[in-house]
């Protein structure tokens, strides 16, 4: 089975080479038969990669320790779920997942791209094939998961315990679906540059791929953040860790792309800029892959360090980023630029959005890579952490958030800022009220935090305002308003939901940052600690034996100040037997949107145990907001004009790709 997997992987590499070459040659020489090769080959390459991946999963499930990768990262006593997810909990396996998803997207283009012009489709598939071939070569030559051990050990050395978790089972596939999803946008952009033609129809074809990748990336980042929050036991939701930034940069660029593609589709403007963003989004994904997989960064995620891999990925990065940007530099001139437009208009607002998002991407980029560059040049070691990002990134987000509710209320071509402002009176009033209430009635709220609460309210009410106005709620009869509401285009709901979701996330972040309470105390059984209106009683400590670990489990009773019992909170210190590695399992009690978070420390001098307790108000909104954003993206994806078959309504001249010569 393992050899079948290995063989299938080699076969997939060979197929990718064919996929990169034949459709491309076909497209240049306008030979339909060569171009038609691309589709079936892309689908077969995906099937082979899937077979290869399943073979590795099977080796993990059977605990086949004659395979080096399985021996290094698995253990026979590990629960079945973590045997399966352990497949991608290591460098080699996760790279296999990466190429699996890449070929998956290639196959999707081949299967669902029927109404694409044949030349464009052939070029897109060829570029996907080229990316695939490069990464297959990387996997086969530096990170082969199918390497056998001559003498099979009896027991494996287990998966890193912090990775033995459901969150980490879902996080990498989601993240990769996002990262790699941008490869399709990249391929479309390269194809457009090769052909030298691009129009509104191109934007309409690219948009669903951008949206899909963005939805997955949003989910992947949120999942990773929640995992770090509960698993690492530090209670933080975002550390501005270089690896987090690596996934955040493509998200920011992707969000910008999502918005600029709307302008291109509706107004035939911002063409060159949209192309550049499409190239950047995937380039940043590749950079992220490089940063994580080469181990150049010190971070909680850098589990693999091997210089040859780093150099190889760096070469791939240089080839794809350098190649695509050079192509852009040479060919962008040949694209027909779109017209200018009024700054106060829907498209003007979207440009503003792009300006802020790309600048924010740049600040994150600088903060992430500056320490590396400085160390390489001067040898000085510095750390750029949260204070840097909070200042620069925060300064960019505040005006963006203030501007956000205006965007959807402005008309295309020529908007009326005063009219939009009038419509936002309710939102402004709500924001002011939220800020004042927070400042006056909630303990511990500073003026700065009050502004944050006001801003979150502004986003939330602003997002709803657009829907209310469009449906005419309050101004027409309820039945008419209801009918209008149901008849609104899905993309309008998508925008409102996504913006509302951002508002929720902002509210969660402001609330936790401003109002979180923390107590660190040494406790013995029977001791209590008060925190934000709750009383936590340390009940007892018990040793427990799990499948592949032993733990000291501490039981706490949570109650309100009035004495109402709210159940038990269990927190523990685990030691994983195979690696003799300790971990902290946080105990979390969710009350509404808020959480009480209990983390165990070391034994204290007085014989008790150090316990760290947090009350995190509205913390779950941070991730719920991301879910709402994903729902918004999905709504937009379901919009009629993006669905398959809709291009039948497109303008005749949109049938691009017909040989112009």
């Amino acid at each position: 089975m393992v050899e079948i997997g290995h063989f299938a992987l080699v076969l997939a590499f060979a197929l990718s080479l064919v996929q990169a070459a034949l459709p491309f040659i076909g497209a240049r020489t306008r030979q339909d038969r060569l171009m038609a090769v691309g589709g079936p080959v892309a689908i077969t390459a995906f099937a082979m990669t899937a077979l290869s991946f399943l073979a590795l999963v099977a080796a993990y499930v059977q605990s086949d320790f004659s395979v080096l990768n399985v021996w290094e990262n698995s253990h026979s006593a590990k629960p079945l779920l973590y045997k399966i997810t352990g497949t991608w909990g290591n460098h080699e396996g996760s790279m296999l997942l990466w190429v699996l998803i890449l070929t998956f997207f290639g196959a999707l283009v081949a299967a669902f791209g029927r109404n694409l012009p044949p030349v464009l489709k052939a070029d897109v598939i060829a570029v996907q094939g080229l990316i695939g071939a490069a990464f297959f070569l990387f996997v086969l030559s530096t990170s082969n998961p199918f390497v056998r051990l001559v003498l099979a050990p009896i027991e494996g050395s287990d998966l890193n315990p912090v990775l033995q978790d459901v969150g980490l089972a879902i996080h990498p596939p989601l993240l990769y679906l996002g990262y790699v999803g941008f490869s399709v946008c990249f391929s479309f952009a390269v194809a457009a540059l090769i052909e030298g033609r691009i129009d509104a129809a191109w934007a309409r074809w690219v948009r669903p791929w951008t949206l899909a990748a963005w939805i997955f990336l949003t989910g992947g980042i949120a999942m990773g953040s929640y995992w770090a929050y509960y698993e690492l036991g530090w209670g933080g939701f975002w550390f501005w860790d270089p690896v987090e930034n690596a996934s955040f940069m493509p998200w920011l660029a992707g969000t910008a792309l999502l918005h600029s593609a709307i302008v291109m589709e509706r107004r035939e403007a911002l063409k060159i800029w949209t192309i550049l963003l499409a190239l950047l989004a995937f380039s940043l994904s590749l950079l992220g892959t490089f940063l994580v997989r080469s181990g150049v960064l010190t971070s909680v995620h850098a589990f693999a360090t091997d210089p040859t891999r780093g150099v190889f990925i760096l070469a791939l990065l240089a080839f794809f980023v350098g190649g695509s940007l050079s192509l852009f530099a040479f060919r962008a001139q040949s694209l027909q630029p779109g017209g200018l437009f009024q700054p106060i208009s829907r498209e003007g607002a979207l440009v503003l959005n792009n300006l802020f998002l790309t600048t924010a991407t740049a600040t994150v980029f600088v903060g992430t890579l500056y320490p590396l560059a400085l160390e390489a040049v001067t040898g000085e070691k510095i750390s750029v952490g949260a204070p840097f990002f909070n200042l620069t990134f925060g300064a960019l987000m505040v005006p963006l958030m203030i501007a956000m509710p205006f965007g959807p209320l402005l008309a295309w071509k020529r908007g009326d800022l005063a009219a939009a402002g009038q419509r936002l009176f309710a939102a402004a009033g709500g924001a002011l009220l939220a800020g004042l209430v927070a400042l006056l009635f909630v303990d511990g709220v500073t003026a700065f935090a009050a502004v944050g609460f006001g801003l979150a309210a502004w986003l939330l009410i602003g997002a709803v305002t657009d829907l209310v106005l469009r449906a005419g709620i309050g101004s027409v009869a309820p039945s008419v308003a209801l009918r209008r509401f149901a008849g609104l285009p899905r993309s309008v709901f998508g925008t409102a939901l996504a913006h509302f979701g951002l508002g929720l996330t902002a509210l969660g972040i402001v609330s936790v940052t401003a109002l979180q309470a923390e107590r660190i105390v040494a406790m013995k059984p029977g001791d209590t600690v008060d925190i934000s209106g709750y009383v936590l009683t340390f009940d007892r400590m018990e040793p427990v034996r799990g499948p592949n670990y032993t733990e000291d489990r501490a039981y706490f009773a949570l109650a309100t100040e009035a004495g109402r019992d709210l159940g038990e909170v269990i927190s523990s210190k685990r030691v994983y037997t195979a690696r003799q590695m300790p971990t902290t399992e946080a105990g979390i009690a969710t009350r509404g949107f808020s959480q009480v978070y209990v983390s165990l420390g070391d034994p204290a001098a007085n014989g008790g145990t150090v316990v760290r307790v947090w009350h995190k108000p509205l913390v779950t909104l941070i991730w719920l907001g991301a879910l709402v954003m994903m729902a918004g993206g999905t709504m937009s994806l379901a919009d009629r004009r993006l669905r398959i078959g809709a291009p039948a309504r497109r303008k005749v001249k949109a049938a691009a790709g017909v040989p112009a010569e």
Binding site: L232, P343, G385, T584, G601
Partner: protein, 147 residues
């Protein structure tokens, strides 16, 4: 405004914006970053009390003293010089004697290093990269520490 003037206005606006963002970024890089030191670097290049730095090294054997409650004191060494660190909080899971750590904080006027965060990585072979590099330079690196 003519088309050309409008274009110029947009470009000027964008440039002002980008200039502002760049200034802010460089200001933040100057103010909000902290430098990494090993104990012997500090005797060569002392830092003012109150200035935030990151101090890395090995936790000296036998130096960990647990105080009342959550206070902890330990010494960070690079086998040449040793610096006493005081910390109030939860130590990471992998904090042990003779393991690499990075602490972040500032010196108090008495010359103790008051850390507000202590980092050790979640991997049993982990040695913070900065610490490992510096120890290699000094020749006290041992492969078994986790290379």
């Amino acid at each position: 405004m003519t088309r050309k003037q409008k274009r110029l206005a947009v470009i000027a606006g964008a440039l002002v914006f980008l200039g502002g963002a760049t200034t802010l970024t460089f200001y933040a890089l100057g103010q909000r970053t902290s430098y990494f030191y090993m104990p012997s670097d500090l005797s060569a290049k002392p830092v003012e009390p109150g200035q935030r730095i990151r101090l890395g090294g090995l936790v000296e054997k036998g130096s960990i003293q647990r105080g009342q409650g959550t206070e902890v004191a330990f010494a960070v060494t690079d086998q040449e010089k040793t610096i006493k660190v005081v910390y109030n909080g939860l130590l990471p899971d992998l904090f042990r004697e003779e393991q690499g750590v990075i602490t972040e904080g500032a010196f108090d006027p008495a010359g103790n290093f008051v850390a507000d965060s202590v980092l050790a990585k979640h991997d049993e072979t982990y040695m913070p990269k900065e610490v490992a590099d510096s120890l290699k330079e000094k020749g006290v690196w041992q492969e078994k520490d986790g290379g």
